[in-house]
């Protein structure tokens, strides 16, 4: 994984957040939060509504003031060297703050201009074609569907050729087909070296794309961990064993292996992974005189883990 490779080479973080806090009147949106994200990473920031994700992104990208702490992006302090920091950032906001009467092409041109970059027609065409917006380049934004508007936002963020791309709920309200197209695009961007920070409500999305996840609640990070590590550590596997006969009582040899009865279905036994090899479990069932009719297993998804972690805290 990229993250491991960079960590091994002691690469400096491309985003270095140290002890940042933000309070809106009475509400503490972000509390003493620290986080490092490394070049080329795909990082997912997860949290319920109001957890502080958008505020944190706002502080990094310059649209929200920082009360306390420091943030460096590409080695530049986002307050003292804000322009240098912003030059390497692209932002896809959560809402769709697009001006309805300008055309797609003009929206992208303006965005490149705001970043002080000369217009590049080749990049414009390439971006629009990649996002399947080339045919719509002369259409006014108000004439586009929700999914197209979302792609316009991504195109605008890409016109700056950013080293770090922030996507705040980029696939909210986007249909399944388009969502998968966007995933492919994000993967391609990452392959080209762009660091991607994603916030999403679709935890499947974070599981599919991100190398590391951070879970934020009430403005604090509950954990930051590699996605596969998190799934391995918290993602309990469970077997569902369908028996030929009803099981009214279970011998101690089976309960000791973590096998329980499904109280609603007398033909079903549940076995939560306790580390014992599956062959031992199957032998124990056979020795107890239980005939297995069918067996399947489930693994906790990132969504289950997220719910468990955020509800437990």
């Amino acid at each position: 994984m990229l993250y491991c490779r960079y960590m091994e080479h002691h690469t400096s973080p491309i985003i270095d957040i140290r002890g940042v806090s933000k309070t809106y009147t009475e509400t503490r949106a972000v509390r003493d939060l620290s986080l490092q994200i490394f070049p080329g990473e795909f990082f997912a920031l997860l949290g319920h509504n109001g957890a502080g994700k958008t505020t944190l992104i706002g502080m990094i990208t310059g649209s929200v003031r920082i009360d306390r702490g420091t943030i460096h992006v590409c080695g530049h302090d986002v307050v003292r060297e804000s322009f240098d920091a912003r030059r390497c950032i692209g932002v896809v906001p959560q809402e769709m703050p697009l001006e309805p009467f300008i055309t797609v092409e003009r929206a992208l041109r303006y965005q490149r201009g705001f970043f002080g970059r000369r217009q590049d027609n080749e990049l414009m065409e390439q971006t629009l074609r990649t996002l399947s917006l080339w045919e719509k380049r002369h259409a006014q934004i108000r004439m586009l569907s929700g999914g197209m508007k979302r792609r316009v936002l991504i195109g605008m963020a890409l016109m700056n050729e950013p080293r770090v791309l922030f996507l705040d709920e980029p696939t909210a309200g986007v249909d399944v087909t388009l969502r998968r197209e966007l995933w492919d695009l994000l993967r391609a961007l990452q392959r080209n070296g762009t660091t991607i920070i994603l916030t999403t409500h679709y935890l499947e999305e974070a599981e599919m794309l991100s190398e590391r996840v951070g879970i934020i609640k009430n403005g604090s990070l509950l954990l930051v961990e590699r996605t596969d590590e998190l799934l391995r550590r918290f993602g309990q596997r469970q077997w569902r064993i369908v028996t030929r006969d009803e099981c009214t009582e279970l011998p101690d040899t089976l309960t000791a292996l973590g096998i329980t009865r499904d109280t609603e279905h007398p033909h079903i036994l549940l076995h939560t992974d306790t580390g014992a090899p599956l062959s031992v479990v199957l032998d124990a069932l056979r020795n107890a005189g239980i005939t297995i009719h069918d067996i399947d297993h489930t693994t906790q998804s990132l969504e289950d883990i997220f719910i468990t972690l955020t509800e437990n805290e």
Binding site: Y24, T61, R65, F83, I89, G116
Partner: protein, 253 residues
């Protein structure tokens, strides 16, 4: 300074004017023609002015102000307000453009819009009446200063407004009445003494009077006082806009 960013913002805002060219330029031109028909031709022949200026010419500076001031103010106010309203302000705030570039972009574009429309009114007036400028260079400088001042004030209104009602409140409640009462259609010496004194409290009076001096080399107030007054108003507006942008008033939490 982010020159490309600044130029982009100015062109973007001017494009808004071009996109609604019929509404932005043709409307004030038609309004001016109507004013000339009603006041210049129909009523003007019955009004005699102390300085011997034909009435149709006398109203030209005021009509230009009536075009420039609301357009300069409205352009910057609506420009920044709609960015806030749609949330598109985030694209400026996250770009390497500072408070100076953003404010300058809106103000320059709004002032240009005001001056273009003011120029269109002057052009229309020149077609229907034989008017010339006594101090053309000073007129251009004065109008540029006034357009800039009201573009700055428009930014203040646009930042302050958090709904459409507030956005239109200042132009409707203050601007239009104050411009009318600033002596667009009458000379101050036509008024009773009390109203003459009250008129001298109206900032628009000094602006119209100074422009009238640029046209006819005649004014009621010393043009230096009027120019100083306009200069102070401009500096004050720059200071307020500077503070609002630096503190991120209503755009950056």
């Amino acid at each position: 300074m982010n020159r490309i960013g600044l130029t982009t913002l100015i062109l973007k805002e001017l494009r808004r004017t071009v996109d609604v060219i019929l509404q932005s330029v043709l409307t004030p031109v038609i309004t001016t023609v109507l004013y000339f028909i009603v006041f210049g031709a129909a009523l003007g022949s019955h009004i005699s002015l102390r300085d011997g200026i034909p009435y149709a010419q006398f109203i030209v500076p005021g009509l230009m102000m009536m075009a420039i001031i609301p357009n300069a103010l409205g352009a910057s106010a609506s420009g920044i307000y709609f960015q806030k309203y749609t949330g598109a302000i985030v694209f400026l705030l996250t770009s390497p453009m500072g408070a100076f570039e953003i404010a300058t972009g809106y103000v320059v574009a709004a002032a240009i819009r005001g001056l273009i429309i003011g120029g269109a009114v002057f052009g229309t007036a020149a077609l229907v009446t034989d008017i010339t400028l006594a101090h053309p260079l000073l007129a251009i400088m004065l109008l540029t200063c006034i357009a800039t001042t009201f573009a700055l004030m428009g930014l203040i209104v646009g930042l302050w407004a958090d709904d459409f009602e507030r956005l239109t409140l200042i132009p409707m409640i203050i601007l239009t009445p104050a411009t009318f009462l600033g002596g667009v259609f009458y000379s101050i010496d036509m008024l009773p003494s009390l109203w003459q004194h009250l008129t001298q409290l109206n900032p628009f009076y000094y602006m119209i009077d100074a422009l009238r001096w640029c046209f006819f080399d005649i004014s009621h107030t010393d043009p230096r006082i009027s120019l100083a007054f306009i200069g102070v108003l401009c500096i004050l507006s720059v200071a307020i806009v500077g503070i609002l942008f630096r503190t991120g008033y209503r755009i950056k939490p």
